[in-house]
Amino acid sequence: MSKNIVWRLLRKNISAAQIAGYAIANLVGLSIVLTAIQFYRDVNSLWSKEDSFISKDYMIISKKVSGLNTINSVMGSSNSKTNNLNFSSNEIENLQQQPWVRRVGNFTAAQFDVYASMEMGGRRMATHLFFESIPDEYFDIQPDGWVFDPATPEIPIIMSKDYLTLYNFGFASSRGMPQLSESLIGKVVLDVRLSGNGLRDTYKARIVGFSSRLNTIAVPQSFMDWANARYAPNEKIQPSRLIIEIGKPGDPAIKEYLKENGYESAGEKADDGKASYFFTIVTGIVIAVGGIISLLAFFILLLSIYLLLQKNREKLHELMLLGYSPRQVAKQYYILVGVVNMSVLILAIIIMYLTSGYWIQPLATLEVETSSHLYAITIGAIIMAAITLGNFIAIARTTRRYFNS
């Protein structure tokens, strides 16, 4: 004899087809939702995690280089260091008063000569370089070793990712030189010779990070201040580039202001925002479709439960007369719904895992670190808990109603 007689009695009218229909529909819906969430989180790291030093809310601007600027500086008709490619104090002040600007930081350019060389594969490469710096507070995260101590001088450098790309895919491949990864570059020690003010010193330098938003060769502000004071004590110039923290990213007034004043923002990072926005919309639609399928499935189950209880109405009444409480009877249906829903959730999570395998590999080659599945699993569990709770309430109410009738 079966352990649970009540269940044997009540399961008679359960339609396996209805339950299976619900399970499949909900599985499809939930799988779409979970997979879309996971995909969104993984792919979104392309934009959000690529550059952790400086967040999206920063913009770097400079003045447009026109033919006239160039001629002026070449002809020496004005002092090249104060030509109108630099921002005047008035211009900076005006910028600071714009409603979308939170704060403005100056790029400080090195006023001394930089000559770097490195040993690589037995060959020595050397080049003239330039350094720039921005105040440390504009960094979201400071890379490891982003300090400069004149007592034990080693210069940390953040380099634009574009330079590495240029080297790897433009220079190295055509010259038959080895391509370099970011982590390998970090291990290379550069010899940097600084000269100016009649002094000439050599320091060790190390590239501690690459940035796609900071299109320069950046050194810590503390080093720049120290070095400018040492090698160019008498030079004082206005910055030619500014870093702006934006209060309202995406404000159309920004574009307008830049255009009006003939400024341009570095790179085309704004387009990243557009792509990211578009991607968010598309993912949102996919999640909504999955959500609607799940919601419809929820109603299928609800309908199925109502039908089932309707068919078992007599039996429920008999059980009541035997002294069964509505809860004791409803428990049987709770178990059924719980088991089905739990299975659907587990299957949906498995499907999400398997599907994510299709994009993890391509993303790994782009050096994007994919996020953990925990977030999607939690969302799935919450959705399923909500669906199950809705089912339970419907069961409890209907059983009670039949008991009272």
């Binding site: 009695l9 008679k12 039996k315 002294g323």
Partner: protein, 219 residues
């Protein structure tokens, strides 16, 4: 625990308006004040259509289509909550419905156990002993649908006894049993009621259960 069941001026709604006509006019139950108190046994003698099963349903809390008041120890049963009824039906009040109400898709034993699992009152051995006493142990694992009406009646009686009770309502308990089976059923019921110090309220349209009766009413 119920010590006393009181009926005060109770009348089925279907008889409203015909208070001065039979069967209400001649009834000793409808529109009267009646007390069933433990451990006395009562017999309600009735003709068909006088509301005998309705009375059983009213007392068991299954139906409320009556006027007047029914109280258990002074408490109006029409105000009892669902959970209170569940407690009463598993701990104080047992019933044998006239139509037996066995689940045809379950075996005789399962039909008994579906009640007994709820109350956890009898062991399987005790149930088998009762089946043997009523001479149907070989039917234990047969589907209720395959049992004769007399056999179903005996299974339903055993099911009704698988709980602690103060009052046992028997709606025509022996309508389908011969005299010999009537006696065996009666002795089983009397033994169980005596052990629990409980009252029996039995109805009959002719074939009476052979138990000692304290008071008889004509419905």
């Amino acid at each position: 625990m119920i010590k006393e069941i009181n009926l005060d001026n109770v009348l089925p709604q279907v008889f409203a308006g015909s208070e001065n006509e039979p069967p209400v006019k001649d009834s000793q139950v409808w529109l009267h004040k009646i007390t069933f108190s433990r451990p006395d046994n009562y017999l309600i003698e009735a003709e068909s259509g006088t509301g005998k099963s309705s009375l059983c349903s009213y007392i068991y809390g299954n139906r409320k289509d009556y006027s007047g008041t029914i109280t258990f120890d002074g408490n109006d049963i029409s105000r009892f909550s669902m959970s209170h009824w569940c407690r009463l039906r598993t701990h104080a009040l047992a019933i044998l419905p006239q139509e037996m109400r066995l689940f045809p898709e379950l075996t005789a034993m399962e039909n008994i156990q579906i009640k007994n699992r709820l109350t956890d009152f009898k062991s399987e051995t005790e149930i088998m002993a009762m089946l043997e006493r009523l001479e149907i142990p070989h039917k234990a694992n047969q589907l209720a649908a395959r049992l004769s009406v007399g056999q179903q009646q005996r299974v339903a009686i055993i099911r009704a006894l698988c709980q602690p009770f103060n009052f046992l309502i028997l709606d025509e308990p022996v309508s389908h049993l011969d005299a010999r089976n009537n006696a065996t059923v009666a002795s089983l019921i009397i033994d169980e009621a005596a052990r629990q110090n409980a009252s029996i309220i039995a109805t009959s349209v002719g074939n009476k259960i052979t138990i000692p009766i304290t008071r008889q009413y004509n419905l």
